[in-house]
Subunit: 376 residues, 2 copies
């Protein structure tokens, strides 16, 4: 049974920016897009389930140019990055990526980018779907920091799947196998400079290739496409089933400005004792002490395959009270169950808790699971 997704016809004006890889993606017969940071994000090429099967067996090329970069450079660059995230970025080495939530003065999550440290005084925030550029520019202006904040011409292309290492070493050289998780090197591919990181938004491993000249999108694509033929390469995109199975949370769906890192299960990325000034420090101290009111949990919804929620799916506790909402959901072919993320009251968040989900009128029993989907 194939999960269904709500799909609508969308008009592409120039306001919704074209990716440098859009020509190739269109030629590949993309079936459905999302829109992310006002840029197209190709999601489905065959269908969700068969894209997922292929991703788990071979290698895929993904247009993730919509993961835009916010560059922060200058004498106050580190001070500025430290201010906006509770993560201890002073420990981030040059050549390292760090997953970090950006939090406001109430502890609310503004975004959850990957921070890449390019130099002592130069960072990229590789962002999820919100205007981090404006947020960081506003704070830098307000505080009078000596740092330039802008969106550079940088567009990531992801190579994901179990054969990603083989493909990447054919293209760039055997040394890419030694790149550790969340580390990056500089390389040249298709005659253009790229940053090459071991990272990516799937559970299958691989690389993200940061193109730094949008005119070279098709050239870069073609190098991987041609070299990937022997590995049965296909076009793909961040896959809903894979991300649920892998526990990858999506900003805007599973967390928002109304969430905080303790609610979202990101407490391991919070350093309340870091030395640098941090705007969310005080609020997060308080939430850490009191505990969050709500928690983002893994939930298995019982019964036949459900689609993906567009409307609000309420989660009810055993007394019938509303305990929260479902934030993401997909049918998993490997676990043979409906996997959901849900934000629920903390007193209903322990693995094993029995709940009820009202999936648009289709009322089902559900159970909170561990983060790896096992039962306690």
């Amino acid at each position: 049974m194939k999960p269904t997704l709500p799909i609508i016809p969308m008009i592409l004006s120039r306001r919704l920016r074209a990716s440098p890889f859009e020509t190739r993606v269109t030629e590949q017969g993309v079936k459905a897009f999302s829109l992310y940071n006002k840029m197209t994000l190709p999601l489905v090429f065959d269908d969700l389930a068969s894209d997922y099967e292929h991703l788990h067996s071979h290698v895929q090329i993904w247009d993730v140019a919509c993961q835009r970069q916010v560059e922060i450079i200058g004498p106050d660059a580190l001070r500025l990055v430290e201010l906006i995230t509770p993560r201890d970025v002073s420990r981030c080495e040059i050549g390292q990526c760090m997953y970090a939530s950006l939090c406001d003065e109430n502890g609310g999550i503004i975004n959850d980018p990957i921070v890449l440290r390019l130099a002592d005084d130069r960072f990229w925030l590789s962002i999820a779907d919100s205007d981090v550029l404006l947020w960081v520019k506003g704070i830098a202006y307000g505080r009078g920091f000596d740092a330039r904040v802008f969106e550079p011409d940088v567009s990531p292309l992801a190579i994901q799947g179990p054969k990603a290492d083989d493909l990447m070493s054919d293209v760039v050289g055997e040394h890419v196998r030694d790149i550790r998780f969340f580390r990056f090197i500089n390389a040249e591919i298709a005659g253009t400079d790229v940053v090459l990181a071991r990272s990516g938004w799937s559970g299958q491993g691989g690389f993200e290739v940061y193109l730094q000249d949008s005119r070279k999108g098709s050239d870069l694509w073609d190098v991987f496409w041609d070299a990937g033929q022997k590995y049965n390469i296909r076009s793909g995109g961040p896959n809903l089933i894979d991300r649920l199975e892998a526990g990858l949370k999506s900003y805007g769906s599973d967390m928002t400005i109304d969430s905080n890192p303790f609610e979202a299960g990101l407490e391991s990325f919070v350093s309340l004792d870091k030395e640098a000034e941090c705007m969310s420090h005080e609020a997060l101290q308080r939430i850490s002490k009191d505990g969050p009111d709500k928690k983002l949990v893994n939930l298995v919804i019982e019964g036949a395959a459900l689609g993906s929620p567009r409307s609000v799916w309420n989660v009810l506790d055993s007394t019938g009270e509303i305990a929260g909402i479902v934030t993401s959901q997909a049918w998993s072919p490997s676990i043979q169950a409906n996997l959901a993320f849900a934000i629920v009251r903390s007193d209903q968040s322990d693995p094993g808790t029995a709940l009820v989900v009202d999936a648009g009128g289709d009322v089902r029993t559900a159970v909170v699971r561990n983060a790896d989907w096992t039962l306690p």
Copy 2:
């Protein structure tokens, strides 16, 4: 001949927010959406040209909930609004709307909202497509201003077209005919409080009704839908043809952070001599003195009807040099011409200037027109 638009299938996740009017819009058989502030914006119900014809003759109801509000409230609210726009907001009375560009310290346009003054110390910025919330929150935090900045539960519904006054007076009362352009009143419709403004993103006049409780979307819609039957009401949306004819510029297409108000033809909304502190003042003084390098102009492209640009359409001067790009374009049935906005070098911006447009390989002659599309 009907203009063509690039349309793609888009997956609606919960990250792309539902409007309170989405149920009704879907029932009305919307044919194509755009996405705006991460919310659906219904654009086409029949086709562009017949939606346009109807808008010019009758009355339409538009789901423009995506024009989100940023509320600024508190002792420093006015000081904060003054800081972020070069417009003199001290002159904005309670009950008044003001079109204002928000500009950064380089004069770059961050957004071009309508400012509504609700009280001495309370404003809504009714925004175009960029995260003004994060921009203003960041500046307020950085400067330590005493003002709360948040997105309230407010969703505009537009009633546009020549019969809008008749419909609105049937629903609310004859006194709505006396609401002046860009003024608003408080009213109750469908048992819920609304702000009712004479404004809207068409050249045909009408109202915007700011719903303040998203649970009442269908109720509010139904009141206008039922009362509008005698006026041949239809669902519609901001219409590309109408906006080109009316000279309405779209943030993200016709201006961006790389534009400034002098380039975008918005100099009449800049008060360089206002008393309050303004972050863009210095940069705009300089641009005003030197003149902008580029200008946004009206351009008629000759020959048969063209579609809407997705790729870059270069504008060339008489020597074949690139002079700029087309930012928006539509075929006008009433003027019987291709109407375009283009950003061109200032030395090529005088009405009457002959240019050439490369519309994706279809090379045409073009002439700069006056703002009302006449020739000089």
